[in-house]
């Protein structure tokens, strides 16, 4: 996982500001809570490359999925709360970071406004993705919860909830931005990346034993580095060949503006349902994302899970699938055959990774605040360096 150097100073300053504000109120009550996962994981692949970044192929280790977090919440004034979440992730050598730091104002029973740094609700469970105790998987299915680095954003959010008889409707509106690094499967490396003007809406409708949910966010991609470091180098040979075969500079610039990601619109959306009926648990989530009008390949992913709860145990089986399609519509109007082939080739390269998996997880609540989880996952990744892969883990998720 990337170490987001650009964030360190800002990450430190906001929590310090909040902590500085807290003592101003003599009656500030500070609540401390936390969560942790201590999990040993073995990830193997036929190709020898770890199936997901952050794991060590062929080795049993406790770093890939272990994490600790402490959350401090201070009531500064009536309805005004400051929250700081300090977080240490094994994948980042347990370096402590202020993952979240925000102020919340409870406007009334329905609405709460927050400002600062908090979770980006990319998909349905993204906001509590790291809180293993909150769900029944060892890790949320990677096909949907692939580990985007923009899981934390800076901005404002309005959380609302409404009751209509037995129905409960929850919504979240968010405006924010993010910059950091993201993983490129094409180059198997981390590249600088940013999202500006993130606008998100999430909706969740619940009644008794079922929940329907959906959401979307759009953002402007800050992708100058991914363009110069990944996209344009991939096109370089094609462009040189096209120039040698009569392509004009204007045609080349046109292609570059099409294949580039910078300043294009990213769109992410999801929908699904959850059922908890007579101890049977069913979950389904479908997600889609792409960088519009660019060489990025549209991504389609989903997972479906069925679980059964008996006493303090929950057994869950699931299937997950992550697919990428090519859509060459963004090249409409490119007439030079070599440039057209280059554009198609780049998107095909970005679409080269697909994977699926089947998994089984046993959860045992051996304590009201701790769950033991054992899981086995077997899947297949289209990258030759990975191929068929398996993951096994045993660990404990805690909340306190």
């Amino acid at each position: 996982m990337p170490y987001q150097k650009g964030w360190i100073i800002r990450r430190a300053s906001l929590p310090l500001l909040l902590l500085a504000v807290a003592p101003l109120t003599a009656q500030a009550e500070i609540k401390l809570n936390g969560f942790a996962s201590i999990r040993g994981v073995q990830a193997n692949s036929d190709g020898g490359l770890e199936p997901f970044p952050g794991y060590t192929e062929g080795e049993f280790d406790f770093k890939s999925e272990s994490l600790f977090a402490i959350q401090a919440q201070a009531d500064l004034a009536e309805n005004l709360t400051a929250t700081v979440q300090l977080y240490a992730d094994g994948q980042k050598d347990f370096d402590l970071e202020a993952r979240w730091a925000y102020l919340s104002y409870q406007i009334n029973d329905q609405h709460r406004l927050s400002a600062g740094r908090f979770a980006n609700p990319i998909f349905h469970q993204s906001e509590y993705e790291k809180v293993g105790y909150a769900h029944n998987f060892a890790r949320l299915p990677k096909a949907v919860y692939i580990g985007f680095d923009f899981s934390t954003v800076e901005g404002m959010a309005l959380d609302s909830q409404y009751n209509f008889g037995d129905y409960n409707l929850q919504t979240k509106l968010l405006y924010g931005a993010w910059d950091g690094e993201t993983f490129s499967a094409v180059t198997n490396s981390w590249v600088n990346f940013g999202l500006k003007d993130i606008m998100a809406l999430n909706v969740s409708l619940n009644k008794d034993w079922w929940t329907l949910f959906g959401g979307a966010f759009t953002a402007e991609i800050d992708g100058a580095t991914i363009d110069s470091g990944t996209v344009f180098p991939l096109a370089a040979n094609g462009i040189n060949l096209a120039l040698a075969n009569g392509a004009t500079a204007a045609q080349v610039n046109d292609l570059k503006s099409r294949i580039g990601w910078d300043q294009k619109d990213g769109i992410y959306w999801f929908s699904g349902f959850a059922v908890d009926y007579n101890n049977w648990l069913v979950d389904y989530e479908y997600a889609y994302w792409e960088t519009k009008e660019s060489s990025d390949a549209p991504n389609t992913s989903w997972y479906a899970a069925v679980g059964y709860r008996f006493g303090n145990y929950v057994v869950t089986v699931h299937h997950e699938d992550y697919a990428q399609d090519t859509d060459f519509g963004y090249l409409d109007g490119v007439t030079h055959p070599v440039l057209l082939a280059t554009g198609k080739g780049i998107q095909t390269a970005f679409a080269s990774r697909e994977f699926d998996a089947n998994g089984i997880t046993l959860r045992y609540d051996f304590h009201p605040s701790a769950a033991l989880k054992i899981d086995y996952l077997t899947g297949s990744d289209t990258r030759a360096a990975v191929g068929d892969y398996q993951m096994m883990s045993i660990g404990v998720d805690l909340v306190f």
Partner: protein, 135 residues
């Protein structure tokens, strides 16, 4: 037959759960059913029907009345309830009800604050509080 009933009664008596009373301040005029109480305890409603703020208090894990209340009103085990609140607590969407250690402490707190709502073993109720609901 009488003997049989007596034996059955003796055998089954340890399985009979304690009766739980949902209590409020005597001045609280609210009438709530179990569903409405559940909404307050799950953070889905934050006020009594008259609009005044509701502050739910819970008995700590381990108190017999707590397991009974979780099962009958919230329809969740202690672990399910903890997982439910983990989702809200660590996403800034809510904080679980404050936990109170004993019935006596609960009765004392409820009797001193019209905004609070709590639950205890029905045997612990005294005249300083009003019983809203018995389960």
């Amino acid at each position: 037959m009488k003997k049989l009933l007596l034996i059955a009664g003796l055998v089954l008596s340890p399985l009979v759960q304690a009766e739980v009373a949902v209590i409020v301040h005597p001045s609280n005029a609210a009438t709530l059913d179990a569903d409405a109480v559940s909404k307050l305890y799950l953070g889905r409603e934050k006020s009594f029907p008259d609009g005044s703020a509701a502050v739910p208090l819970a008995l700590a894990d381990g108190a017999p009345a707590a397991a009974e209340f979780n099962d009958k009103v919230l329809k969740k085990s202690a672990s399910q309830l903890k997982a439910y609140w983990s989702k809200l607590l660590f996403t800034g969407k809510g904080t679980p009800p404050k936990e109170i250690a004993t019935d006596a402490e609960m009765v004392k707190l409820i009797s001193s604050n019209p905004n609070m709502i709590g639950f205890v073993d029905a045997k612990s109720v005294d005249s300083s509080v009003k019983v809203l609901l018995k389960l």
